[in-house]
C-alpha cells in the first residue's frame, strides 16, 4: 500500500444552519487520481476548500501530507471552481503572481512556466490577457498556475466545466501524466465520463460519502447490465419497453437521439426476448448490445435509492400543442464579423417544429454568436434568418413572445428570490396573470425546488440556478426555444431531468436549438451540427456523424477527429 497523503476523519462543515459536510472520511494515496462526484450541493466544493486550507472545518479533522491543510498549502495546488485568476493580467503575469506568492525561485519559475505552458499547449499566449482567453484556455492557465509551485497534491474543482471535448482531452492527458510522476490528484466533476478515468471515486450525497471504490467496482456492485438498443423510432421503442412493465427486471430506460439504453438485472435473459417483444410492437430494431453499466448508471441508481427522483411534471399548457413539422428556424449564409475577425462564416441551418437540433463545437467555434444572431440579439453581417415564418421584424414584440432564450451566463438576478425572478420573467414575457401562479408552481415543482421559492437565487448551487433559468425561459410556451449550454455544470441526474423536459417541449411541437459540450447529451438531439473555426463542418443524426468518421466509436471520437481535421485545414 502506498503512502496515504490525504486523510479526512469525520469532517464536518456547516454554513449557519446548513450542513454541507456531515462526517466525511477519506483516504487518498500518493499518485492516485481520486474523483469526487455527486449531485449539485452535495459538498464536493466544500470538501476541496477544506483540503486546500481555504475553509476551516467545523468538526472532524483533515490532514494533508501529515499536516493541517493550512500548513500544507505550499505543497498543494488548488484550481477552484470559479476562475480565481485575474482577467486583466496576462497569462505570464498571472503565473508570476502565483509563483511570487508561493516563493518559487526566479530561475525555477522561468523553466516551469515554459514547461507547463507548453504542456498545456498555450505557450504562444503568454502575453495575452486572461480575459481574452476562451473558457478552455482559461482553465488550462488555471492548471498551470496550480502547478507552478511544483505541488505534491493537486485539487481540481470541476476543471473542465464549459470546456470543449478537444481541450478536455488535453486536460486529461496532462492529468494522467502528472499522476505518473506520483502527483496526487483529487478532482470534482459533474461529468461521469470523466470520472470513469479516475483510479477511485467517491460519490458524495448530502454531505456524506455514499459510494467509494474504483469505477469498475462501483459498476459491478450495481448488479445490472445495460442493453443498448439502436433503432430509428426511439419514441415508439421507449413506449414499447415501458409497456413491458417492471416485472421483467427493467431498472431504467434512457433515450438518446437514436439509441435507447435499458438497464436490466444481471443475468436476466431479457435481451433475447426484448428484440421479439419490440418486433411484436412494430418497432424496427437495428441492434441490441449488452454492456456493463456506466458510472452514470451507478450515480443515477444510487441517487434513486437515496431520494425520490424529482417528479416529472407535465408542463401546464394553456395552448394546444403545435403540430410537429414545418420549418421553424432557418438561416441562410449567416455571417458575423467582429472587426477583422470572422466569428461565423456562411452558415446554413434549418430546424423544424418538434425537432431538437444540437449545435456542437469547441470553445470559440461560433456557437453562441450563431444563437444570438438567430434570436435577434446580435445584428448579423450577412445572410437571412427566418423565424416562425417571418423574415423581417425579427425583434417585433409579437415574434419575441413566441421565442424562448436561455443564455450561457445566468440571466437570473442573484439578489432576488426564485419566486421574484420567475414573477419578473412571467411579467416580461406577458404570461397571462391568471396563469402565472400555475406556471411558477410548475417551475418550482419540476426543478425540485418546492418550498424554496423564497430562497435568494445567489445562494443556490449552480445546477439549480440553471433549472430555474430554464423554467423562466419556457413559462410563456415558446414555439422556438434557444438554449445555450443549458446544462453546463449541472449534475447527471438533474441533467436527465432537464433533457426529459426539453424533449417534452419538442414533442409538443417546439423547435429547440441547443448548444452543449457534453457529447452524451448531444445524443438526445435528432440532428446535430458541428462547428469549427466559424464553419459548420458536419451535420446529421448523431449516428450519421459518427459513421462519417472512419474508426470512430463514439460521438466524442468523431468530434475530436472532425475538429482536428478542420483545424489542420485552416492552418
Amino acid at each position: 500500500m502506498t503512502a496515504e497523503v490525504i486523510a479526512a476523519r469525520g469532517l464536518r462543515v456547516s454554513y449557519g444552519k446548513v450542513e454541507a459536510l456531515r462526517g466525511v472520511d477519506l483516504s487518498i494515496a500518493q499518485g492516485e487520481i481520486f474523483g469526487l462526484i455527486g449531485p449539485d450541493g452535495a459538498g464536493k466544493t466544500t470538501a476541496l476548500d477544506v483540503l486546500a486550507g481555504v475553509l476551516e472545518p467545523s468538526g472532524g479533522a483533515a490532514t494533508v501530507l501529515g499536516k493541517s491543510p493550512r500548513d500544507a498549502r505550499d505543497d498543494v495546488g488548488y484550481l477552484p471552481q470559479q476562475f480565481a485568476l485575474f482577467a486583466d493580467l496576462s497569462v505570464d503575469e498571472n503565473l508570476a503572481y502565483v509563483a511570487g506568492l508561493r516563493g518559487v525561485p526566479r530561475s525555477e519559475y522561468e523553466e516551469r512556466r515554459e514547461r507547463y505552458l507548453r504542456l498545456m499547449g498555450i505557450e504562444r499566449f503568454g502575453g495575452r490577457l486572461a480575459r481574452q482567453l476562451s473558457g478552455g484556455m482559461k482553465q488550462k492557465l488555471a492548471l498551470c498556475a496550480a502547478l507552478v509551485a511544483a505541488p505534491r497534491i493537486l485539487l481540481l474543482d470541476e476543471p473542465t466545466t464549459g470546456v470543449d471535448p478537444l481541450s478536455r482531452r488535453d486536460f486529461w492527458r496532462v492529468i494522467k501524466s502528472l499522476a505518473q510522476e506520483s502527483l496526487t490528484i483529487a478532482i470534482a466533476t459533474p461529468d461521469l465520463e470523466e470520472a470513469e478515468r479516475c483510479d477511485r471515486v467517491a460519490l458524495l450525497y448530502d454531505g456524506e460519502v455514499r459510494r467509494l471504490g474504483t469505477p469498475a467496482e462501483l459498476s459491478a456492485a450495481l448488479g445490472l447490465d445495460r442493453l443498448e438498443i439502436r433503432t430509428r423510432s426511439i419514441v415508439a421503442a421507449e413506449r414499447a419497453v415501458a409497456a413491458l412493465g417492471d416485472g421483467r427486471g427493467i431498472e431504467d430506460v434512457q433515450s438518446f437521439g437514436d439509441r435507447l439504453d435499458v438497464l436490466v438485472r444481471r443475468g436476466s435473459e431479457f435481451d433475447s426476448v426484448l428484440g421479439d417483444e419490440l418486433a411484436r410492437a412494430g418497432v424496427a430494431v437495428a441492434s441490441i448490445e449488452r454492456a456493463g453499466p456506466t458510472l452514470e448508471n451507478v450515480f443515477v441508481e444510487t441517487l434513486r435509492e437515496l431520494r425520490p427522483e424529482p417528479p416529472f411534471v407535465a408542463f401546464p399548457r394553456s395552448r394546444p400543442p403545435r403540430p410537429v413539422g414545418g420549418v421553424a428556424i432557418e438561416a441562410r449564409g449567416l455571417v458575423k464579423d467582429f472587426g477583422p475577425f470572422r466569428a461565423v462564416d456562411r452558415l446554413d441551418l434549418t430546424v423544424s417544429y418538434g425537432e431538437m437540433y444540437g449545435l456542437l463545437g469547441a470553445n470559440g467555434a461560433g456557437k453562441t454568436t450563431t444563437i444570438k444572431m438567430l434570436c435577434g440579439l446580435l445584428p448579423r453581417t450577412e445572410g437571412t434568418v427566418m423565424l416562425g415564418g417571418q423574415e423581417h421584424d425579427l425583434r417585433s414584440p409579437a415574434l419575441r413572445r413566441r421565442i424562448g432564450y436561455m443564455s450561457q451566463k445566468f440571466t437570473l438576478y442573484e439578489d432576488l428570490t426564485v419566486r421574484e425572478n420567475l414573477d419578473f420573467y412571467a411579467g416580461v414575457y406577458d404570461v397571462p396573470r391568471a396563469e402565472r401562479a400555475r406556471k411558477i408552481a410548475w417551475v418550482l415543482e419540476s426543478s425540485g425546488l418546492e418550498g424554496h421559492g423564497d430562497t435568494v437565487v445567489g445562494s443556490l448551487p449552480g445546477g439549480w440556478r440553471q433549472r430555474v433559468a430554464f423554467g423562466a425561459s419556457v413559462m410563456h410556451e415558446p414555439e422556438l426555444l434557444f438554449l445555450d449550454e443549458p446544462t453546463s455544470g449541472v449534475d447527471p441526474l438533474a441533467r436527465r431531468q432537464f433533457w426529459r423536459l426539453i424533449e417534452a417541449f419538442a414533442r409538443d411541437g417546439t423547435a429547440v436549438l441547443v448548444t452543449t459540450h457534453y457529447m452524451d447529451e448531444a445524443q438526445h438531439c435528432g440532428r446535430i451540427a458541428l462547428m469549427a473555426e466559424a464553419h459548420k463542418v458536419a451535420e446529421g443524426t448523431p449516428s450519421e456523424v459518427v459513421a462519417s468518421v472512419p474508426g470512430a466509436r463514439s460521438l466524442d471520437d468523431a468530434f475530436v477527429a472532425i475538429v482536428e481535421r478542420a483545424g489542420s485545414r485552416a492552418a
Partner: protein, 363 residues
C-alpha cells in the same frame, strides 16, 4: 512578513491599476478637477453685495455715504424701490438702506442719526458680514467721531489675507483624503467580489502581507496624485513654502498611507464594490470636508461629533499644509501630526487585519 510576497502582491496591484486606463485617468482628473472647482469657486468673503439705497435726505452727507457704499469692495448699490422691503422680497438686494430726511441736520447738531437698514438674514454668515460692513461704513462717514478705544489690528501670516491660500491648502488635503481611499477600497473588495482572493487564500500569504502589498501599490498611486495636485496648485495659485518644508515632506507619506489604509479597512469589512464606494465615497468625503477644519475650526464642532474629527486623517494634515504654505512656523506648531497619523494608520491596519486575519473563506 515576507518582503518577497509583499512585493509580489504590490506588483500585481500596480499592474492591475495601470491596465485599467479609465481608472488611471480618473485617478488624476477627478482630484485635479476638485482642486480647481473648490479653489476657484469657494469664496468665504462676500463681495459686491447688492444694497438698495433710498436716499430721502438728499444732502452732501447722504450722497457721500452712498458713494462710499458704491466704492467699497463689499457692496454694490442697486436702484431702490419705493418700499425698502420690496428689493429684499424681489431678491434684487441683500440689504436695503434708508437714509431718512434730516439726517445731516441731526448730525450737524451733534445728535445721533439712525439710518434704517434691512438685511436678508437667510444666509446667516453673510448677514453678519453685511451688518458689520454697513456699521463700519456708517461710523467712518462721520469724521471726528471715533470711539475712545480702538483696536490697532495687524494681520500676522497671510498678510494680504488671500483667501486662496486658506482654501487651496485645505483642498489639497481634502482631495488626497478622498480619492486614494476610494481606489484602495475598491482594490480590496474586488478580490473578494470576483473570487480571485481564493488564489491568495490557497497560498501562505498572510493577512498583513496582503494588506501591506495593496497599501504599497496605492502609496505609489497616491504619491503621484499628490505631486500632480501640488504642481497645479503652485502654477495656478502661486503656492509657495512659507517656511521650512520638512514637516510637510515628512507628514505627507503618513497622510497618504493613513488615507489608503482607511480605504483598505472599509474594503475589508464590506463584500461588494457598491458598498465600498458608498462608504468611502460620500461618507468619507463628507466627514473629510466637514470635520477636518477645512471650512471652520474643529473647535466649533459640538461634542460628541467633535470626537469623529480625531479619526479624520485630513484634520491633522490640513494643519501641516496650512503651516507649510501660510504660517511657516515649522515643527513647533505641527509636531504631533505625523504621530497622530501613524496612530491612525495602525488603527485602520488593525481593523483591516482583524477581518482578514484568517485568510480563509468565511462560513
Amino acid at each position: 512578513m515576507n518582503p518577497g510576497r509583499v512585493w509580489t502582491q504590490a506588483r500585481k496591484e500596480w499592474t492591475l491599476f495601470r491596465r485599467d486606463r479609465l481608472t488611471v485617468a480618473l485617478a488624476f482628473v477627478l482630484p485635479l478637477a476638485t482642486l480647481l472647482i473648490f479653489g476657484l469657486a469657494i469664496r468665504l468673503e462676500a463681495k459686491n453685495v447688492a444694497v438698495a439705497v433710498q436716499d430721502l435726505d438728499r444732502t452732501p452727507f447722504s450722497r457721500a455715504y452712498v458713494a462710499g457704499l458704491g466704492e467699497s469692495i463689499t457692496f454694490a448699490v442697486v436702484r431702490p424701490s419705493a418700499d425698502p422691503l420690496a428689493a429684499l422680497h424681489a431678491g434684487r438686494a441683500k440689504a436695503s438702506v434708508v437714509i431718512p430726511p434730516g439726517t445731516e441736520r441731526l448730525l450737524r447738531r451733534g445728535y445721533d442719526a439712525p439710518i434704517g437698514v434691512y438685511i436678508d438674514g437667510t444666509d446667516v454668515v453673510n448677514a453678519e458680514l453685511i451688518r458689520n460692513g454697513l456699521e463700519g461704513l456708517a461710523a467712518a462717514s462721520v469724521p471726528g467721531r471715533r470711539p475712545p478705544v480702538s483696536a490697532d489690528v495687524r494681520v500676522w501670516f497671510n498678510p494680504g489675507r488671500k483667501e486662496s491660500l486658506f482654501i487651496v491648502t485645505g483642498v489639497i488635503a481634502i482631495v488626497l483624503g478622498v480619492f486614494p481611499p476610494l481606489l484602495s477600497a475598491i482594490a480590496m473588495v474586488r478580490d473578494k467580489e470576483e473570487g480571485t482572493i481564493v488564489t491568495a487564500y490557497a497560498s501562505r500569504l498572510t493577512a498583513a502581507e496582503f494588506i501591506a502589498g495593496k497599501a504599497l501599490a496605492y502609496l505609489g498611486v497616491a504619491t503621484a496624485e499628490w505631486c500632480a495636485v501640488v504642481a497645479v496648485a503652485m502654477l495656478v495659485w502661486r503656492l509657495g513654502f512659507a517656511g521650512d518644508p520638512t514637516p510637510l515632506l515628512v507628514t505627507t507619506p503618513f497622510y497618504l498611507l493613513a488615507a489608503i489604509m482607511l480605504g483598505l479597512f472599509v474594503g475589508s469589512r464590506v463584500s461588494t464594490q457598491a458598498a465600498a464606494v458608498q462608504g468611502v465615497g460620500p461618507v468619507n468625503a463628507m466627514l473629510t470636508i466637514l470635520l477636518s477644519g477645512f471650512m471652520y475650526p474643529v473647535s466649533n464642532i459640538p461634542w460628541p461629533l467633535s470626537l469623529i474629527s480625531y479619526v479624520v486623517p485630513a484634520h491633522y494634515y490640513i494643519e501641516v499644509t496650512r503651516d507649510a504654505y501660510v504660517r511657516g512656523t515649522g515643527w513647533p506648531g505641527v509636531w504631533y501630526a505625523p504621530l497622530a497619523l501613524a496612530a491612525l494608520i495602525l488603527l485602520f491596519f488593525a481593523g483591516a487585519w482583524q477581518s482578514m486575519r484568517r485568510m480563509q473563506l468565511s462560513r
